[in-house]
Amino acid sequence: MRFSQLFTIRSGAWILAFITPSLALVVLISILTGGISSSRSFLVEANTTGMSVQFSGLNNAWPLGRATICAPLDRPKRENARGTGPCDERRYTPSENDDLLLEFPDGSSATVLVQGNGGLAIQVSGMSLFGDNTRILVARDDWIAVGAMVFSGQAVIGGQMGSGQQNILLDGRFEVRETSSFSLGGRNRIEVIKSGTLLRGEQASISESGADTTVTGHITWSDNRRSMDVVIVSLPGNTALSLGHIGGDQVSSIQPDWIDYALASPTLVALTLVLSICIGAGQLFFTATSYLRKTNRTSETTTTEGQ
């Protein structure tokens, strides 16, 4: 009876002694592979006065409704009068459109700026319908009536800071999300590995291997009449957030590493908790086993002496 009891405790201890290091190994491997994982998405949410997009794919269309189209002249006519319309007639020929649908072909680009009057100025290039540097002006009420403008392509929020810059990121934040390599319970876990804030005047874009990568996103109006709200989400990949600062000699790149992963992943925190319980339990079993073995030996000695 005593012997079988001892056997059970001892085998339990051996199992634990096996489980603990293998669990530790799993934690270590997941920290290391998490750090070099290539399936994370960056999310950037920003309040900005402007942004630029180079569109990719065939799904980029903005139903702008009522808009003023300022088509550029070949050369500015310096000697002419400006005129009183929304566009400078020394540079542009204005025309009104009551039902404008802007369809951006693959590779075309647009710079969107919020104007002083709360409206939008969209400068487009690479479109067959409009010449390069055509400005499309949308009044604020018409913009709000239009709703969100969705895009897919390479996006840069804010311009490079310098005196006179009007394309300014006002504030924002970013998150790095990743599908956990562990799916305990058969479900994929989405974890936030790293997050942070964007400072006023920074220029933000999402890159992969040094070049801007394709993101999807949307532009909506902000309550502040001088800005708009932009959200961009990168496709899963080995992506990084590129931030340009004033006074910096190069763009800084933010990418989570194994430290962020070890600190922020809930799965890892849970695994570490399980691991520490195992270690504690293992310690308890080993102490109990060695105590029982000692007691057993003592009682056996006593029995022998009694005979």
Partner: protein, 219 residues
């Protein structure tokens, strides 16, 4: 001043050179008129030369060198002898950081040699040659257009010369200047011309700024 009558001499003492750790942006719009040669850092200081018109004789001029990222700046006054006949002058440029200058690519450095003392220049600018032959075949005008979408350059006195559309600088950091205009080859080595700079920003024509360019003709 006890100076030779034939050489251009450096007046600034000490040599005024700033290598800073953070960018400073000046309000000056015109940042340089330059013809670039290839500068290699062989330990010798970089060689700057400028073709100074005879009319500047007896006066001073201000030479400014700025890097595109705004981290290097030098601003120094030079004296021109009163008997100056016009022609090329090699400038004394005792820089403490020749390696730093050598690392700059052509679109990352702007040099202007403007008539008058520093801070009091007259709007006349002479082409500066950087490490190159003094026979320029390409001259660039470098401007801080304060993030204008487009910038045009007009030569109103030269009807045969078409207006120039300037391009946005390709430098990675455009803190001290952001626009580069290529001067038409027909004007190089010719008489001084008046150039008018027109920035277009936010869809609106901006204020025109005129400057006299001395493009290499001695006289």
């Amino acid at each position: 001043m006890a100076q030779s009558n034939t050489t251009v001499s450096l007046v600034s003492d000490p040599f005024n050179e700033i290598v800073r750790e953070a960018a400073k942006i000046s309000g000056i719009q015109l940042r340089g008129l330059v013809s670039h040669g290839a500068y290699t850092d062989d330990g010798a200081p970089p060689q700057f030369s400028v073709i100074l018109p005879q009319s500047w004789g007896g006066g001073v001029f201000c030479m400014r060198v700025v890097s595109s990222d705004g981290l290097y700046e030098a601003e120094n006054t030079y004296q021109i002898p009163s008997t100056w006949q016009g022609g090329a002058a090699v400038l004394d440029y005792p820089t403490s950081t020749p390696g730093r200058l050598a690392a700059l690519r052509p679109e990352e450095i702007a040099i202007s040699s403007a008539n008058g003392a520093c801070g009091d220049t007259s709007g006349e600018i002479a082409v500066t040659f950087w490490e190159g032959a003094q026979v320029a075949d390409s001259v660039s005008l470098l401007i801080n257009a304060f993030r204008a979408e487009e910038t045009y350059l007009y030569f109103d006195d030269e009807p045969s010369i078409p207006d120039i559309k300037c391009s946005v600088s390709s430098a990675a950091i455009r803190a001290s200047f952001d626009t580069i205009c290529t001067i038409p080859a027909a004007l190089i080595r010719g008489r001084p011309v008046e150039a008018t700079i027109l920035p277009i920003k936010n869809g609106e024509l901006g204020r025109e700024v005129s400057v006299i360019l001395h493009l290499g003709a001695a006289g």
